[in-house]
Point group: C2
Chain length 444, copies 2
C-alpha cells in the first residue's frame, strides 16, 4: 500500500508522537505505521488496506482529545488528517464554509471573521484542535449556551467508509429530511462508523456587540440558583459559566490575583446582539444574592473579566495531574450536582475542582492526582470518577456532555444507555464497518 | 392479540378514516385493523404481533402529513397514537416537557405558556398535528429561522422497536455524546426504525417582545435579495418569509383584500427578544428596494401584517387541488430558485404558487391541478413536480426540507443521496426492523 502514499513512517519517534492524545489514557502500545494523508484518495487507499487485512485504523487530527478517542495501540495504523487543512470554500451569503478535516478550529473562525461571520463552536482547545476532531467528539464550548454544539454547525459531511467508499451525508442546506440522518450519527462517533474527510459548516454573522457580566457569590448554591434565574429571563446568554471557590484559589496561586477572597463562586455571562443594553439589565437583575457584579461591552474589560474562567483549567493543571471529567445534568440540578461532587471528593479523599457550563448543565469536575502522566491512577481517583459518573446518571444526566467516550468511558456508556441500545450501537457499527477496523474499542 | 387491546376496530368506516393522510397520495387500499393505543404496553403488543406475523404496521397521529408517510394500504395494521395525548411532566426550571406522542403541538405550546415558556417548532399544522407526527417528519415551521426544526427541540425519545422492546434514546440533557446519536436517526424517519411513544422536549422562555416587519417589493428577486441582506445583518429574525405575487392575488380573491396591487412579492420578518428596537431598525434598513415597509410590536397589528402569510395556503387551496412541494436550497439561491420555479410552470403549462421560509432556504412551490382529490394527477403536474425536484438537486439542495419523503418522494430521495447512502439507509432499517414491518415503503 505504501507505494500509493506520499507521507508515511514506521520510525519509532514518529509513531510515539501519534500514539496517544491528551486524555492521560494508559499507554496502549505503539502503532505499526503512521500515514499523513495528502488527499481523500489516500484515505480511501488506507481504509481499503486496513479492511482487507483486518488492521485497526485510528484516525487523528490535533491529538487534543480528552477521552482517549485517538489512542492508537499496538499493531494499528494511525491515519493523521492534520495535513488536510484547506478551507476549500467560504460562501458568505449562505453563511457556509466547506473545509477539510484538519483545519484548526480557530483558523476557520478567523477566516470567517474576514467576512463578518464567525464559527460558533468554541471548545477550550480551539487553538489546537481540528474541525475533524470537533466533529468526532461533537465538541461544545463556552458559546454553546446560545449556539449549541458542533452538530448544530454541521450541514453535510464527506465520509470515507471502512471499505474505502466515499459518501456524502446531509444536503448542506439548513433543512433536509431526505432519508435517515446519518450525518448526525457520524457526529460524535469518534471515527468509528467512518472517516470524516470533508465538512460543510454553518457560520453565523458576528454580533455587533458582546457584553460581559461577571459576578461573585458567597456560595456556589447561590451562583447556581442565579444561573437558573438567568436562563428563565427570556434573555439567551451566549455564555453562562460557573467556577467554584477552589478553582478561584488555584487561579490566585497561578496568577497572583485575589479572586477567591471575593467569593466562593464566580459566574460569568455574555450576551451578544445588536444592542444588548436591555438584556444586560435583565441579567444583572437576575443575579440575586451576588456580592459583586461588573458588566462591560469594552473588549479589554471583557477580557479581564473573562480571565477567572479562562485561567481555570491551566490553574488547576498547575497543581498536579488533572483528570478532566465531563458530566451533564438537567440545568436546575446544577447546584445539587456541584454539592455532591464536593461530597465525592470528601468521601474518596481526593481533590476535585469544578467549573461548569451552567447554560446547558455541563460540569467539568477535575480530579487532581499525585501521579506522573502515563502512570497508573490512584485507586481513590478511579473510585471518585466512578462515583461522578454514577452521580450523573442518578441526576438524570449523561456521563459525557462534550468530551466523548473514547477509551475512558466505555463501561459507563453501556450502563447509561442500557443493553438494548448498546446492542443497537454495535449492530449499526457492524453495518458500517463489518471488519471492525475503524477505531476499535472506542465510542460504543 | 385483540383480547389484549382496549380499543380496536375492523369496521370499514373506521378503517377508511385512518387509511390516508393529507398528502393527496393515491389510495393504497384499506387496512385490515386499526388499533387506538391506550398505553405503551399496547404498542409493544401490536409491534410484537406484527413482527411475528410479518404484517405491515403503519403508525399515525393527527393524519396531517403532506408526503404520504401515514398512508396505510391493503392488509396493514394502523396504530393510532392520537389517544396517547398526555403532557406527562413540565419542568419549568429545566425548560423541559415530557409528553406522549399524541399531544397536539399547539396544546403543548399553550401548556408551556402557563409557565412563561413556549415550544418553538410551529409547523402550519400546529392546531391539528401531533408531536409524534412532528418528530416523524422533523417538522419545521415559521419560527425555524431562529429556533430550528423539531430535532432541535428533542432531548430524548422513548421508542418501541419492531420486536416490541422499549428503548430510551438520548440523555434528556442539552448536551450528551454518550454513544451514537440514534435519537436524531429516529427524528424524521417516519416511523420506519421504531415507534415513538414518548418524548422529552426542549421549551424556551417566551420572549418579552416580538416585532413584526412587513414589506412589499416590485419583484420577487428584490424581496429575495432583501432576505439575504437581512440574514447578513447579525440580527437573527425568528421569522423570515416570502410570498409571491400570484399567492397575493389568491389571497385577495379569498379575503377581498388588495395585497397584490402593493407589489409582486411580500416579505415578512419577526424579531423577538427583550428590547428589539435596534434590531427592527437594522432589519428595516436591510430591506433595500421595498415599496412599502410597516413594523409593529402591537400584537393586533402584527396579526394583521401576518395575514398575507397566514392566508397563503388556504387561499391557494381555494383555487383547486393543491400539491404542496417542499424543496430546500442554499439561502442565497432563493431568488434563482423562485425564478426557475416560475419557468417550470411555464414549460409544463401548470399553475405554481410559491411561498418560502427565506430564513432557511425552504420553498413551498404549490402546484394547483384541476383534478378531484384521490384522482390520478395530470401528467403535466407530475412532470412539473419532477422538474422541481431536479431543480432542488441542481441548486445544491434537498427534495424535502420539512414535509418528509413518505410515499411521494422515494425515487427522488434515492437520487439525492445516491446508491451507497441509500444502501446504508436500508441496511440500518434492517438492523432495527428485520421483518420490515414498520411503515414499509416510506422514508427510505
Amino acid at each position: 500500500m505504501t507505494d500509493e502514499l506520499a507521507d508515511w513512517s514506521t520510525a519509532a519517534d514518529r509513531l510515539a508522537e501519534v500514539a496517544t492524545d491528551r486524555s492521560g489514557s494508559p499507554d496502549a502500545g505503539a502503532p505499526d505505521l503512521v500515514v499523513r494523508a495528502r488527499s481523500v484518495a489516500e484515505v480511501q487507499t488506507v481504509a481499503r488496506f486496513a479492511t482487507a487485512h483486518g488492521i485497526a485504523l485510528v484516525t487523528r487530527g490535533g491529538g487534543s482529545g480528552l477521552a482517549g478517542g485517538a489512542v492508537a495501540g499496538t499493531g494499528s495504523i494511525v491515519l493523521d488528517l492534520s495535513g488536510l487543512d484547506r478551507i476549500v470554500e467560504l460562501r458568505p451569503a449562505d453563511h457556509v464554509a466547506i473545509v477539510e478535516p484538519g483545519v484548526i478550529t480557530a483558523d476557520l473562525d478567523a477566516a470567517a471573521a474576514a467576512h463578518g461571520l464567525f464559527y460558533a463552536p468554541d471548545p477550550g482547545s480551539v487553538a489546537i484542535s481540528t474541525i475533524g476532531g470537533n466533529i468526532a467528539t461533537n465538541a461544545g464550548g463556552l458559546r454553546g449556551a446560545k449556539y449549541g454544539v458542533t452538530r448544530d454547525a454541521v450541514l453535510a459531511l464527506d465520509v470515507v467508509l471502512a471499505d474505502g467508499r466515499l459518501v456524502h451525508l446531509g444536503a448542506g442546506t439548513l433543512k433536509d429530511v431526505a432519508g435517515y440522518d446519518l450525518m448526525s450519527l457520524v457526529v460524535g462517533s469518534e471515527g468509528t462508523p467512518g472517516i470524516v474527510v470533508g465538512a460543510t459548516l454553518r457560520l453565523r454573522p458576528r454580533p455587533a456587540v458582546t457584553a460581559t457580566i461577571a459576578a461573585y457569590f458567597a456560595s456556589l448554591e447561590l451562583a447556581a440558583e442565579a444561573a437558573v434565574a438567568v436562563r428563565s429571563t427570556g434573555v439567551q446568554p451566549s455564555v453562562l459559566e460557573i467556577v467554584d471557590g477552589a478553582t478561584l484559589g488555584a487561579i490566585d496561586r497561578l496568577a497572583g490575583s485575589h479572586l477567591h477572597e471575593r467569593g466562593e463562586a464566580f459566574l460569568l455571562a455574555q450576551v451578544d446582539g445588536t444592542d444588548v443594553t436591555a438584556e444586560v439589565a435583565v441579567v444583572e437583575k437576575a443575579l440575586v444574592g451576588a456580592t459583586e457584579v461588573r458588566s462591560s461591552t469594552d473588549p479589554a474589560v471583557s477580557a479581564e473579566l473573562l480571565a477567572a474562567r479562562r485561567l481555570a483549567l491551566p490553574a488547576i493543571e498547575a497543581t498536579g495531574r488533572a483528570l478532566i471529567e465531563d458530566i451533564a445534568v438537567p440545568p436546575s440540578r446544577l447546584a445539587e450536582a456541584v454539592r455532591r461532587v464536593h461530597a465525592v471528593a470528601e468521601a474518596t479523599g481526593t481533590t476535585i475542582y469544578v467549573f461548569a457550563h451552567a447554560g446547558d448543565g455541563n460540569l467539568h469536575p477535575i480530579i487532581v492526582v499525585d501521579a506522573e502522566p502515563g502512570a497508573a491512577l490512584p485507586a481513590a481517583a478511579v473510585d471518585a470518577a466512578d462515583r461522578l459518573f454514577a452521580l450523573a446518571l442518578e441526576l438524570g444526566g449523561s456521563v459525557t456532555g462534550e468530551h466523548g467516550v473514547g477509551l475512558l468511558k466505555q463501561r459507563w456508556v453501556a450502563r447509561q444507555v442500557g443493553p438494548d441500545v448498546d446492542g443497537l450501537h454495535h449492530a449499526i457499527k457492524r453495518v458500517l464497518d463489518p471488519a471492525g477496523i475503524l477505531n476499535p474499542g472506542k465510542a460504543v
